[in-house]
Point group: C2
């Protein structure tokens, strides 16, 4: 039965909760996927969500809990005792999901929950997973997988696999290890199925040795994503310093990494400092946006100071092209920075060097600058703008575009060298700097051009 | 053997090509993954790439061809005859990859190649795939999969699967169909392995009926990505109008969709109009960037006109806060638009309505505006700015932030309603409009505030 989520369904559910119609609620929730249920619960008030949640059996409750928004999950978890979390929740989910969920709890509660787990293997897996730093292969890998010893026969392997497979939803590949758990190679399910006639063959004779791509537990999650995408892998084994197999990363874990990474870049580029969604509260949204606005303010005040310095009141007509100069500096800078940020995220060692990148950007800037500055000169002539002002605007625009091309390229490359996320460079930070530098260039050119023409006796 | 790509390796390869050392080249290329080989070939000159390419055997050549950058692939394909493309390339790759590659060829060559294919099933699969519109489930699905008839016995099924599995790299799930190819349900590899004792059981008795999530061939690729991500699916069957199974989409196909989508949003937000990379030529890069710069230019000229209209020369001190007002309008607008774009990309039917979104944004804008405008008033006082100007700046900033919040939210929602990609709204387009409206608001407030204070006899 496939029920689709609608606002009417949500409204009906609310009525049932208010009236305590548990049977109707259960009948509805039986037909829904945990991800859909989580979507419904995310929209309910906390007491309502808690009411529905308590009706679920342990397994369903655990699955729904995993899919909830973090804020809602926190509210639903807080009234639960450590024992309830251990026995009803954690024991029903995979070790990697369990570790993620426990990481959100206070440290003391984490320890209590782990101590109360019945399954010792799961407990040690979770403790192990909690030690890996966020954003590494270790932190996104799962411990559940199927591995067989090279000395086993097919019959033995199938028996063992049957046990391991209970915990493993998709098997993908069977890993072959030696007595020290060191990864030797892989065996496909196909080989197992189609070779299953000879039950006495040892795994050693069947498996494909070597050439298995692996990552270390400390490899960055982003690099894992790049490797899996480049080599079209659906699953990637993770090894420790000793080369022993400790987990595996599946492509669906990596989809999250890719989406989060893209969302983070986009968010930084648009000047939002925290991971917020439009469904968050007004206060959270304000807090996430104010920091970059204040940077913009500081930039605006610096611009105001710059304009005061150059005595705009002496040549007020210069104000006319200020917005154009500032906007173009910002636009060009963002374009350059965005190209560098994208290039860095899929960097290849074969790529051109820093110097080559800057040189190329300057050439692009030269072309764009030439087109734009000639246009502005011509348009100024058509609108009978004073020659000095037209020349100032035209030369300044060219200089600003060249400068912004250079600056927009240099900033993210430099941030990257100091291990700071280069995506910051596409946000208001660089735009603001480009605004200020743009005005400085414009006024300086205006000042010298007028003195020079004066000296030549042209004015 | 795992060889890592380095600039030295590339240089060495070039020397070997120049000296015709085929054995050395072959020895190197044997140890490299097709994706790595493609990365090397992408960096070589076309004649060099062609030289190396001709040394590969058919299967390797086909795999490398798939991984190349589109421009390089085009150059390597053009000297090949239709027969070579059919027999050496297409017959060695999956039907979905083959269809993608053929789609890049001129229509006449496409037809020639298809006519020359030896494998009739592959030919009809490719013809079928070529009919689906780009960006739909049909266009990204593969025809290779494992399906069994419900009336077969396990023994029969395994025999058939062995045949089908030759073409299918990862099986994931076995699809169960009726005599009309209508999808009835699924069967896991686990069930097949562990139930293989009773070879006479029919599939009907083993498989899990119904509840299999499917998508239609015409479902948008983006929606497919959302479904697979939401429900944690690694593979999703695709059906036609009659409910017959026509293909399957695996999570790795969807990773490409997600990455492309994110890259496109980022690119639009940064004002780049084509899908370019920093490794493209200077001319291509210039062409991709100029259009948005010209829009920025048009905005700047409109701003200049606006400033002229309000006779800046009468009150030149107003120029001081122009950059601040313009920049803040732009920043707030982009923040609002980015939140809407992200919300739209993962839209749920349960989400708040248009009116609620706008109302919330206005409340966020109210808070941010209040903070920023009080600050600017205080700072103006500290720097002894004239009271009228300080009041104008402060009130205008508040109004501009409110307006930009509204405008930044309304524009992407409206674009989306007219089926235009809302991500355009985070680019220079909205920033430019916000610049102009910001200045209009600033000057209007300046004008009326001064007349009003005049009337009150305060100035």
């Amino acid at each position: 039965m496939q029920i689709s989520l609608t606002k009417e369904l949500l409204a009906e559910l609310r009525v049932w909760i208010a009236e305590g119609k548990d049977t109707s609620i259960l009948e509805l929730t039986r037909g829904l996927h945990p991800a859909d249920l989580a979507e419904l619960l995310n929209e309910l008030r906390h007491e309502e969500a808690g009411y529905v949640y308590r009706l679920f059996d342990d397994e369903k409750a655990a699955e729904v809990m995993l899919e909830l928004d973090e804020g809602v999950r926190e509210k639903l978890l807080s009234p639960l005792t450590s024992r309830e979390i251990a026995e009803e929740l954690i024991e029903n989910i995979d070790s990697d999901d369990a570790a993620d969920m426990l990481a959100e709890l206070p440290e003391q509660k984490q320890e209590e929950v782990i101590a109360l787990l019945g399954d010792e293997e799961q407990a040690s897996d979770i403790i192990d997973l909690l030690t890996y730093r966020e954003g590494t292969a270790g932190a996104i890998m799962a411990k559940e997988m199927v591995s067989v010893n090279q000395n086993w026969t097919v019959a033995q392997a199938i028996r063992e696999m049957r046990k391991q497979a209970e915990d493993t939803e998709h098997i993908y590949t069977i890993y072959v290890v030696d007595d020290h758990e060191v990864l030797l190679g892989t065996l496909s399910m196909k080989t197992m199925i189609f070779a299953s006639a000879s039950m006495r063959t040892t795994i050693k004779e069947l498996y494909k040795a070597g050439a298995t791509r692996t990552v270390h537990v400390n490899t960055a999650a982003e690099e894992v994503a790049n490797i899996m995408e480049k080599y079209d892998l659906v699953v990637l084994p993770v090894v420790n310093d000793a080369g022993a197999l400790v987990g595996r990363i599946t492509i669906d874990d990596v989809v999250d990494v890719i989406r989060d990474e893209a969302a983070k870049d986009y968010q930084m580029a648009s000047g939002i400092s925290e991971d917020v969604e439009s469904s968050d509260t007004v206060l959270t949204l304000t807090r996430a946006r104010l920091p970059w606005l204040l940077i913009g303010m500081a930039g605006g005040i610096t611009s105001a100071y710059t304009i005061g310095l150059f005595k705009i009141t002496d040549r007020p007509e210069m104000a006319i092209f200020m917005p154009l100069i500032a906007a173009m500096g910002g636009n060009v800078g963002i374009q350059s920075a965005a190209l560098v940020v994208r290039a860095l995220s899929s960097q290849s060692v074969l790529d051109e060097s820093l110097g080559q990148k800057l040189l190329k950007e300057l050439r692009v800037g030269f072309l764009n600058g030439a087109v734009c500055s000639s246009m502005i000169f011509l348009i100024s002539m058509v609108f009978h703008i004073e020659l000095l002002l037209a020349m100032t605007a035209s030369i300044a625009l060219f200089a600003v575009i060249l400068f912004a091309s250079f600056f927009g390229t240099w900033i993210p490359l430099t941030l990257n060298r100091f291990k700071i996320d280069p995506a910051i460079a596409t946000g208001p930070f660089v735009t603001t700097l480009n605004d200020i530098f743009g005005l400085l260039i414009y006024f300086t050119i205006g000042h010298y051009l007028s003195s020079w023409l004066d000296w030549l006796g042209w004015m």
